[in-house]
Amino acid sequence: MSVGTSVAVRPVLRVDGVAKAFATGPPWHRRRVEVLRGASLQVRPGELVGLVGENGSGKSTLMQIIVGLLARDSGTLVKPERLGYCPQQPLLWEKLTVSEHFELFAQAYHLDQESAAVARDALLGELAFSKYLAYRVEALSGGTRQKLNLALALLHEPQLLLLDEPYAGFDWETYLAFWQLAERRRVGGMGILIVSHLLAERERLTRVYELRDGRCEVVS
């Protein structure tokens, strides 16, 4: 079953022919490993798109190129200004509290205090981790860190949400809550790209790409 298809709407993310190679080995024995060889995909507003592939197929590389953490060798990329990124490994400050993380990201997203507080409280409720607001990250479990990681990506209601293995460490209830949260955002018009080596909930997705030999193919 396909959900949320809206072909006439302009894509919120368009990746065309993106290539990326890495040089490995010592300088006297350099090898060039081509990870992406013209990967293309697109996500429209209101679409929940999956990107799957084997370990080492280049999914996270493509995600990092889209976000701006890595430079691409060639190809074009069109993305919106308001973008949310939830990395595979939670990128957080160990000694800062959950509340301080929200404060820093609210500044980065240029949110005023009131709207930042409203968005923060809604996310804390949705992901059920309000009681950890004053906790330092170092005191959080892996699953709660991942909730914070996800909540920070959503704080400014982005036009495009990029999720790299977003539910690693989630318990079953949080996993279900995550899909409900994603579905609500999708219905609200957000474009969502989920990268995972294993996508069990394919019926929830508008389209699934598989990254194989450095290229994206639509598989469902």
Binding site: I65, V67, G68, L69, L70, A71, L77, K79, Y85, P87, Q89, L91, L92, W93, K95, L96, E100, E103, L104, F105, Q107, A108, Y109, H110, R136, L152
Partner: protein, 232 residues
């Protein structure tokens, strides 16, 4: 400002860090300064006892600030880059991160200067204080540059220690010859030695010192920004 406070507060939440920032420089000045003069004499240098005590305060502030600068830039690199990409921009993150490190380095410099005052009578305490602070700021910049280029904690801290050793052993008073170009803290050391020996440094020395510190901070800022920039 809020970001700088948060980034400065972060390492201080490890209680041992604050203790190290205060105790290590003080102990170094109190315990190591005497040996430093003998060591300089053995190397063919001319470092007198009071000058050695003064210089030890600068070095104590320097090596702690270098380590701080490195770990501030390297250990939070992933989260800092995420914040920069989220919309804050690399320049503002760099300013907050370097600002926070400078605040922490001031604590180390203050502890070193306090210990110096307990050891010897400094004829120009204000000059000595500025020179100790100059050591700290210079090494914050060196630490941040290394931390922006190297993420590995072992590799990075070894590079900072290597720069420090090259600088310290080639500095004024330590050897018989003139200081080589890699003695980056040469002007700060000369100013501090002069203050320790009761001599006032000429304005040109202060100008050179300001220039060296300013250039080091600009390079550190640029290195941090380059490491956190958007690559799209």
């Amino acid at each position: 400002m809020i970001r700088t406070v948060m980034f400065a507060r972060e390492p201080l939440r490890a209680p041992f860090t604050l203790a190290l920032l205060v105790v290590v420089p003080a102990l170094f000045v109190i315990a190591a300064a005497g040996a430093l003069s003998d060591f300089a004499t053995a190397l063919g240098g001319s470092l007198q006892a009071d000058a050695a005590v003064a210089l030890s305060a600068g070095w104590a502030a320097a090596f702690l600030s270098g380590a701080l600068g490195f770990f501030q830039a390297a250990s939070a690199r992933g989260a800092d880059r995420r914040l920069a990409l989220a919309g804050l921009g690399p320049a503002r993150v760099a300013a907050s991160r370097i600002g926070a490190t400078l605040v922490l380095a001031c604590v180390a410099a203050l502890a070193a200067f306090g210990a110096l005052l307990t050891r010897v009578e400094v004829a120009h305490p204000l000059h000595a204080a500025v020179a100790v602070l100059a050591f700290a700021v210079l090494y914050v910049a060196i630490g941040v540059i290394v931390g922006s280029l190297i993420t590995g904690p072992l590799e990075g801290s070894l590079v900072v220690v290597f720069v420090f050793l090259l600088d310290a052993f080639a500095g004024p008073g330590m050897t018989g010859g003139s200081a080589p170009p890699w003695a980056v803290s040469q002007t700060a050391a000369e100013t501090l030695i002069a203050a320790g020996m009761g001599v006032s440094s000429p304005p040109s020395d202060w100008g050179t010192l300001a220039l060296v510190i300013g250039a080091a901070l600009v390079i550190a800022f640029a290195a941090f920004v380059a490491s956190a920039r958007n690559r799209s």
